[in-house]
């Protein structure tokens, strides 16, 4: 019963958002509407399963990893982040990179949910310029008169299933930041992807130890 009620409420909230979004968005269509619902549901899911203080670190990591793989195009983001160096990497390098990249994301973001302090995500509307990327606009509402934090989600739905490809916080793209960083590491390692892999191995080592 409880679940049904929560589900009903989240659908209601999503529906309200869509209603508000309609007049604003020039080409509101099924694609952008669906994107809004997708982010709404994800936020709800994440808060329920991750933002509980009691959860053990190990379980939290497992849950985060599952959510990440369900809702983000992790491999594609990784490939985009590596940019032109993807082609230069060997098959085994690519395989290791995929694993390490996912680990890095988990290691970077899982701890952020521990600091969760009852903030709410207000999903507002989605727009699409090309019918391929939808930008879902949302805000993290904070207490005490602080301006809300703007979070934009770049979403695609290649197989009729929505996947996030980028998160833009206050105009800062997470993917772009990593792309600059990775490309800089590779350049400093003489253009070799193996140098990046070594750095990634070191960075993610701590995570692997926690997870065991």
């Amino acid at each position: 019963m409880m679940m049904t009620k929560r589900y009903f409420i989240s659908v209601l909230v999503a529906a309200t958002c869509l209603f508000i979004a309609k007049p604003v968005t020039a080409q509101a269509d099924a694609f952008t509407d669906g994107a809004v619902t997708f982010i709404e549901a994800l936020a709800d899911d994440a808060v329920k399963s991750l933002a509980t203080k009691e959860t053990a670190k190990k379980d939290r990591i497992a849950k985060f990893r599952a959510l990440l793989n369900d809702n983000f195009a992790v491999k594609s983001i990784g490939r985009w982040v590596l940019g032109r160096y993807w082609r230069k990497a060997s098959k085994t390098e690519k395989e290791e990179y995929n694993v390490l990249f996912e680990d890095l994301i988990v290691a970077t973001y899982v701890s952020r949910f521990e600091e969760f302090n009852g903030e709410t995500l207000k999903v507002m509307k989605a727009t699409s310029q090309n019918g391929k990327d939808a930008f879902v606009k949302s805000e993290i509402i904070r207490p005490g008169g602080q301006p809300p934090v703007r979070v934009d989600w770049r979403v695609r739905a290649p197989n009729a299933k929505y996947k996030i490809v980028d998160v833009v916080v206050e105009g800062v793209s997470m993917s772009q930041t990593q792309r600059s960083e990775f490309s800089s590491v590779i350049k400093r390692e003489g253009g070799k992807v193996s140098g990046l892999l070594e750095a990634l191995r070191k960075k993610t080592k701590i995570l692997r130890e926690t997870e065991k």
Binding site: G144, R150, G171, E181
Partner: protein, 275 residues
């Protein structure tokens, strides 16, 4: 067109070139591999002063470890959070004239109105600016400076520049910082009245307050990044670009070659003011 705005546009174009098929988690890519190059080659130019910048970055890290960070940690330990917020609000309120002038120079009449309203409310009800009562009513703080105004006027940012002590910048923003220092009414008053303590106190307090506010964020960034220097550069460039655009929708940002001009000041306004 500024380099940072170009960088922003590049994100969009690079994702565009990436194609939808790749998001379908295709195991191996062949057809679109060529397009992956897009944007990456241009990026080589974003930091022509890298050697100098890295040197300065190392120097700043040293200053930070020795002075700024300990001061910021002391500040956060000694002062309860409400006092810290009070000081931040007070310092922000002092910058009102600079923010207002730049709102107006950019033709942002509505934002200028917000700035004035904030000043009126916070200086009185907010007790000399210590309490952000205006923010609680929905008149949120926003930052403006001369660097942003120059950008709106069409001045390019030039190469990324790591300044000693002052940190990440570029020639455009650095000139903006200097101009701000010279025209700030409080600085002018302090010089005229021979109140020698005012400027150093304000500069010092601002520095410590800003460092204190970013303690956790920068620690996180340092912990998770593979190349801290590049992370900071990328964050700075993207953040400045966002400030210049006043948070306009990322997907509606101008394409390369589009230049701003004063006759159309409200370009980015409509979409930037959602709150």
């Amino acid at each position: 067109m500024s380099a940072s705005a170009l960088a922003e546009e590049r994100v969009g174009r690079a994702w565009d070139a990436f194609g939808n098929t790749q998001i379908a988690e295709a195991p191996e890519q062949t057809a679109n591999e060529e397009e992956l190059d897009l944007g990456m080659d241009e990026e080589e130019d974003t930091d022509p002063l890298e050697d100098f910048n890295r040197l300065m970055f190392g120097f700043n890290e040293m200053i930070d470890v020795l002075f700024l960070r300990p001061a910021a940690e002391f500040y956060t330990k000694v002062l309860p959070p409400p006092f810290q917020r009070g000081i931040r609000n007070f310092l922000r309120n002092l910058r009102t004239p600079v923010i207002l002038v730049n709102d107006l120079l950019q033709g942002e009449v509505e934002r200028a109105g917000t700035t004035l309203t904030r000043f009126a409310i916070n200086t009185t009800v907010g007790v000399a600016g210590f309490s952000d009562q205006a923010g609680k009513m929905g008149f949120f703080y926003h930052n403006e400076d001369f660097g942003q105004t120059f950008a709106v006027w069409g001045v390019g940012d030039g190469p990324y520049l790591m300044l000693p002590v002052l940190g990440p910048s570029n020639p455009r923003d650095f000139v903006g910082t200097v101009v701000e220092f010279l025209v700030d009414p409080i600085n002018l008053w302090a010089n005229n009245a021979n109140e020698d303590w005012v400027i150093p106190t304000r500069v010092g307090l601002t520095g410590v307050e800003r460092r204190a506010a970013s303690l956790e964020f920068l620690d996180e960034a340092k912990k998770s990044s593979l190349d801290y220097y590049t992370t900071i550069r990328s964050l700075y460039q993207q953040h400045r670009d966002d400030e210049v655009q006043n948070g306009a929708d990322v997907d509606k940002r101008p394409a390369p070659g589009f230049s701003y001009n004063l006759s159309k000041p409200g370009q980015n306004q409509a979409s930037g003011k959602q709150h």
